[in-house]
Symmetry: C2
Subunit: 120 residues, 2 copies
Amino acid sequence: MDKLNLDDGFARFSEHWRPKVAARLNGQEVRLVKIRGEFPWHSHAEAEEMFLCWKGRFRMEFRDRTVELSPGELIVVPRGVEHRPAADEEAEILLFEPAGTVNTGDFVDERYTAPLGVDI
Amino acid sequence: MDKLNLDDGFARFSEHWRPKVAARLNGQEVRLVKIRGEFPWHSHAEAEEMFLCWKGRFRMEFRDRTVELSPGELIVVPRGVEHRPAADEEAEILLFEPAGTVNTGDFVDERYTAPLGVDI
């Protein structure tokens, strides 16, 4: 029941594309992730994912369009929909998704697939 | 798959203690709520609740202590734990919780118990 300051949480790590668990509740996780560059295209057959832009800017690319996100803007990616987050400069993002969700979804990649359950 | 700007979302309503649904995913809801004053003491037998302070300041009172929250700080209230959010000045809060969660939990109050599922 301690509080977490999100800026302090983001300050505890510097890697990109490696989500860290900030909170667990109701089988879901609040994850913090820093991104830069382009992630692989992927989808999640079972999970919807929420992305809330915390710092910087990023874009959520879908096969048919791109949504640009600035701080304080969120988007929910439906299950089964191919997407690719990308950022030209580093961005900090808060994720909300089921605890077992693999970051690369159905696509397993030596470089980008991150371990689950790593606390900040 | 449209994005939502949280400041725009909060600007769409002015009532206190009336959570509005900003996003739905995986049986959970992201809710926006404005608060001022003291809420009734209550607990949720089945749900954990996350509170993320967006604007202003508020305190989460527990029976044995109080946690003060400023913008960018979050806290998870475990199921079954009595709590009372309170704010001297208006605060804006983002909530994550299961879709069916009643804001007053086990305590039903004519003034404070809010309808479920109301979109912003």
